[in-house]
Point group: none
Chain length 191, copies 4
DNA sequence: CATGAATGAGGCTTCATTCAT
DNA sequence: TATGAATGAAGCCTCATTCAT
C-alpha cells in the first residue's frame, strides 16, 4: 500500500471516512471530500480509481486492520472461552476507536458487484466462526449454528454503536455482549 | 373520474421496496421503479413527494406494521418469557415475510433529517425495551442494560438476514436468538 | 365568442389575467389557474386549446376591447387634436380599468409564432397612426414619423403603469402624456 | 491549470443575450445556450448559479453599462438641455449597440423576487430623474412629474425598438424623442 | 360539459471524471 | 505529483395535456 505520499493518502482516507459515515454514499460529493481533506479534486484520482474505490478502500482497510489485530491476539493456545472474550473485547475496542467503520459497513454489500467487496468481511466472519467452532469442538459450549452466531457478533456491535444509548461505555458494551453469550438473560442463580 | 388509489400506492410501494432492497439508494432509478410498477413516472409524484420520501415511506410503513402486530400480540397477561419469545418469533417471521425491510433499513439513518425518521424505529425499540424491563422487574431474568439489549434484537435479525448463511430457516433463526437470550452458549459447565 | 358557458369562460379569463400579470408565463401553472378559477384542470381545455392559447386570448380580448372603444369614440368629425386627446385619455382610462393588460403584453411578441399574435396590436397601432396622420395632414401638427409616434403612446402608458410612481392618478398620467404631445417640456411661455 | 476566465463568462453572456432576446425565457434551453457559446452545459453553472441568475445577470450588466456611460458623460457643467439631449442620444445609441437589452428587459420585472433586480433599473430611472429635475429647477423647462417623465424615456426607446418601424434609424429615433420633449407635436399654431 | 388522476416528454441541474497547466 | 476548470451523461422532477369516469 505504498503510494506516492502515504501521509496524503491517509488524510484523504480519514476525511472520507468521516463524511461517508455522516451521510449516505450518494450525498457525499468528491468536491466535499477534496475540500475537507485540503487537496485538489484531481488529487483524489491519483490515490483512488473512483468514488466507489475510495469508499471500498475505507471499509477494506478498516476490516483488514481488525483482522490483523485479531490474528495477532487470538492464538490457539488460548482457551475457547478466552478466545471468544478477547475477540469480542477487541472488536468492541476497535469499534470505539474507529467510530465510523461500523457505520460505513452500512451499505457496503449493496453495490453492483456485491461479490467483489465481501472478501474482507467474509474473512472476518470466517475468523470469528473458527473461534466459535473451536469452542464447540472442544465442548466448551454448544452452538448448532456457529456461522450464524459469527455474524451476530458484528451485528450486535453495530446495532449498539448506531442505535444504542449514547452514553454506553466500551466496557459495558463488551460486558453485555459477553454476558449474553455466556448465559443469556437467565438469572444469576443459573450460573 | 378516478380517485387516488390506495391499491396503486401499494403497488408502487411493493415494487420500490424490491428495488431499493436490491441496490443502494443512489442506484435505484425512479424510471425503473415506475416501469416496474407499471405506472407513469409522474404518477410516483402523486403518491410521494420525492425519491427520498418514497424510500422513507417504505421503512416507515414496514416498521409501523411490525409495531402493530407486536402491540396486538404482546399483551400484559403473557409471562415475560412468553412475551420475549413471541416478540422475537414475530419479528423473525416478519423479517422472512418482508425480506426487504431489514435490508432497507440499511441506510435509513444516514439521511439528512436523521431525526425525522427515527420515531418509528424508536417506538419499536421502546416497545422491545418494555418487554425486557417487565422481565427484569418480575425477576424472570437479569439485564443491566435493557435499552441496549433492545437494540440487539433487530440487530441480530438484520445481521442474520443480510449476512447469515443463505439457507438458514426462519425457525432456526428464531430458535438461535432465543437460545442466546435464554442461556447464551453455555453447556451446563460453560466456563 | 359564444361558448358553452360564457360565465365560466370569463371567470377563467379574469383569473388567468391576474396570474399571468403577476408572474412570467413559465411560472404560471395551469394547476394554479384552474384552482384559482375554481374549475377542474380539464375544464380549461374545453375553453382554450392550450396554455399559450389561453394567454393569447387574454391579450387579444383586451386589445380588441380597446379597439372597439376607440372606433366608437374616435370619429372623423372630431378635430385631430380632440381625436388625439380622446385616444390618449381613453387608453389611459382603459389601462387603469384593466391593470393587467399592459403588463400582459410584456412578452406577447416573443412567442415562436411571433407573427401570429401581432394582428391585434398592429390594428391598434394602425388606428393610432391614422389619428396622428390626420393631424399632420390637416396641418394641426407636424410629425415626420407618425408610425413611430403611434408606438410611443402605448409605450408611455405601459412604462408609467409598470414603473411609474405608484400614486400617480389616471388624470395626471393622461395630462402628462398630453402635455408632452402638445408642447413637450418647454416653458409655458411657448404656448 | 486554468483560472476562471472572464472571457468565457462574456462569451456566455453575449450568446445568452442573443437567445433570450429572440425567444421568451421559458423557450430558451440552456442546452442551446451552452452549444451556442461553445461550452459544456456544466460550464454555465460555474459562472452562473441558475438559468434565472444568468438571465438576471444579462439585464443587470446591461443596465449597469448604460449607467456608467451616463455618469461619465452627463456632468453638471452641461446645461440641462444639453444634459437631456445627451442622455437621450446616449441611451438610444446604446439601444442600437445592444439591440438585445431592451428586448430582454421585457419580462424582467415579473420574476418572483421582483424587488431583487429593480435596483439597477431604479438607479437608471433615478439618474434620468435628476437630469429632469435640474432642468425644472433651473427653469429650463416645466415638468410637474419628473419621476413620471423619467420612466417615459426608456419606455419610448423600448417601444420604438420593439414595435416601431423596422427601418427607423438611430438618429431619427433620438431626434423624434428629442422633438417630443422639446416641443411636442406642435407647430407654431398647434391647437 | 366537468373533472382530476395519470402520463411522459423534456428541462434544469448535479457531479464523477478528465486533462491542460 | 497536484490542481480545479471544464465537461456531459444522466437523474430527478415538473407540468402541459389527455382521457376515463
Amino acid at each position: 500500500m505504498q503510494r506516492p505520499d502515504e501521509k496524503k493518502r491517509q488524510k484523504i482516507t480519514a476525511t472520507a471516512a468521516k463524511l461517508f459515515a455522516t451521510r449516505p454514499f450518494h450525498e457525499v460529493r468528491l468536491d466535499d471530500v477534496a475540500a475537507a481533506a485540503q487537496v485538489g479534486k484531481g488529487t483524489l484520482y491519483i490515490y483512488f480509481k473512483s468514488k466507489e474505490d475510495l469508499y471500498r478502500s475505507l471499509i477494506h482497510d478498516g476490516v483488514m486492520q481488525i483482522m490483523e489485530q485479531l490474528s495477532q491476539s487470538i492464538t490457539n493456545d488460548l482457551s475457547p472461552g478466552d478466545a471468544l472474550e478477547k475477540t469480542i473485547r477487541l472488536m468492541v475496542t476497535f469499534a470505539y476507536a474507529h467510530p465510523y467503520l461500523f457505520e460505513l459497513m452500512r451499505a457496503i454489500d449493496s453495490f453492483k458487484g456485491r461479490e467483489s467487496l465481501l472478501p474482507a468481511r467474509r474473512q472476518l466472519i470466517g475468523f470469528i466462526e473458527q473461534v466459535l467452532r473451536r469452542g464447540a469442538d472442544q465442548q466448551s459450549w454448544t452452538d448448532p449454528h456457529p456461522q450464524l452466531t459469527a455474524v451476530f457478533i458484528p451485528g450486535l456491535i453495530r446495532s449498539a454503536i448506531l442505535y444504542g444509548p449514547k452514553d454506553i461505555k466500551e466496557k459495558a458494551l463488551a460486558d453485555q455482549i459477553l454476558r449474553l453469550f455466556r448465559h443469556g438473560l437467565q438469572k444469576e442463580t443459573f450460573r
